[in-house]
Symmetry: C2
């Protein structure tokens, strides 16, 4: 039985239920964040908590607990559950609402889950799709279009764009490596990913507009997320990226990210894969 945290108490995760008057169920209203735990050490937790509080503020939701208190709850969960490689998810919903449209008191819960190994891949093949996520800078629970597309998807993932301007994947960030070996990720209409931030730091990369034409001229492309870390993309629609194999800079950035996590967690996350 795994333990979870819910509104001030530690409870069995299997009993963690919300009454259907909660605004997440009524109106899809809530925010979350998610980070990895490697060797029982939370990875980039501060960055994730900062983003969580920014998301909550954007939706005017008050978690009712301070950042330091959340950290101590997370550490207690890690100790109680003792999973070697896991993900911690914080969720803050609109809470129970008699009228179904007004926030009264949010519900806040934290769960911990064993993580699946990231998929082995010779490179993702993705397709583009014209769509703009609502409030993309907020890590909200709204994945309506992402899940609708998921079932029909023959590709590994779907890359959102608007009028040919690339934004992001439903759950991950997009990068290209230009002919000049510059690492570039879209600047606007995207969630500020934590892995995105680390990769920008590691690569001295740039945030700017990325178009479908930029993809056509790119040497490499890759996707980043907390669970995927850095994974190569070899095809986008009918465009083969580079020579159709995972790129060299992509591989290097993934290795550098693993090293960074090793420094934090005392173990390389790849040893679990």
């Amino acid at each position: 039985v795994r333990t979870a945290y819910f509104n001030g108490e530690f409870i069995a995760e299997q009993n963690l239920c919300l009454h259907v008057s909660d605004l997440s169920i009524q109106r899809g209203y809530g925010v979350f964040d998610f980070f990895r735990v490697v060797n029982n050490v939370p990875v980039f937790m501060n960055d994730h908590l900062d983003r969580f509080f920014r998301s909550a503020e954007a939706l005017d939701l008050d978690a009712g607990v301070e950042k330091e208190r959340i950290k101590s709850i997370v550490h207690e969960l890690i100790e109680r559950n003792d999973l070697r490689l896991s993900g911690i998810k914080l969720t803050l919903t609109g809470g129970y609402s008699p009228g179904g449209y007004e926030v009264i008191l949010p519900n806040f819960f934290i769960t911990q889950h064993p993580l699946q190994p990231r998929p082995a891949t010779n490179g993702f093949k993705v397709i583009t799709y014209e769509h703009l996520r609502e409030q993309p800078e907020v890590k909200s629970i709204n994945y309506l279009t992402g899940l609708m597309l998921q079932k029909k998807l023959s590709a590994d993932d779907v890359l959102y764009h608007q009028n040919g301007e690339i934004s992001e994947f439903p759950r991950s960030t997009f990068f290209i490596v230009t002919k000049n070996n510059e690492v570039v990720t879209p600047a606007k209409n995207v969630l500020r990913g934590i892995t995105r931030k680390k990769v920008l730091d590691l690569s001295n990369g740039a945030e700017r507009t990325v178009t479908i034409d930029d993809i056509r001229n790119a040497r490499e492309a890759f996707v980043t997320s907390t669970t995927k870390q850095v994974l190569p993309i070899v095809q986008i629609d009918d465009m083969i990226i580079g020579d159709g194999k995972p790129g060299k800079i992509t591989r290097e950035l993934d290795a550098e990210l693993q090293e960074l996590i090793k420094k934090i967690a005392g173990a390389q996350p790849t040893i679990f894969y």
Copy 2:
């Protein structure tokens, strides 16, 4: 204690909870519909059920029950709960998902709630806001932007547009009456409201593009929804509609809609207000 229906059983509504692994809570993934019960008679239930099944199909969610079965459940709820004026809400969520992104088996529940009287109004004052709902033709649970705006709203409601082309309110439909006494509602990027449909029938109205300029030239404007029925709008941003008082055709259409409901339910819904 009110009774609700949940996945094949009648239970006390206060016990109707979903485990947090449900995709409504994880990913805002679900659809619903809502209709009124007047004098213990469901109003326009067939139209609402047809739309409910269309919404479910768009999200590839299977309620696991036929339309006729839902009708008999609704009648049993009405009998058990015996509320004079109420709303029935059908909700179909993505269901429990171990991975948090894949639909396995949807959750389906039906709840009944006493209805509040619709607000007395001398005419709504609303503001416009540039936004397009995701999958607007689907009655999904996603109201992220609507609820975000709600808290900051000094007006009665917010009217969505894109590049000056009006679509709808977060939870209601928009109509104008032109200088030629034509009743017009936006054709594209809107939910096909049931009250919208009835009002189009009653008024021999038209569905076409409505711009902010059309509003400037309109003689009347009004909003329709299942709970609001037909309510006048007297101001949109800084534009006063007509002479700033509820319009004549608006009032007539509201009266005709009440008559229609009286024929169905054997009582005028207004007697409850």
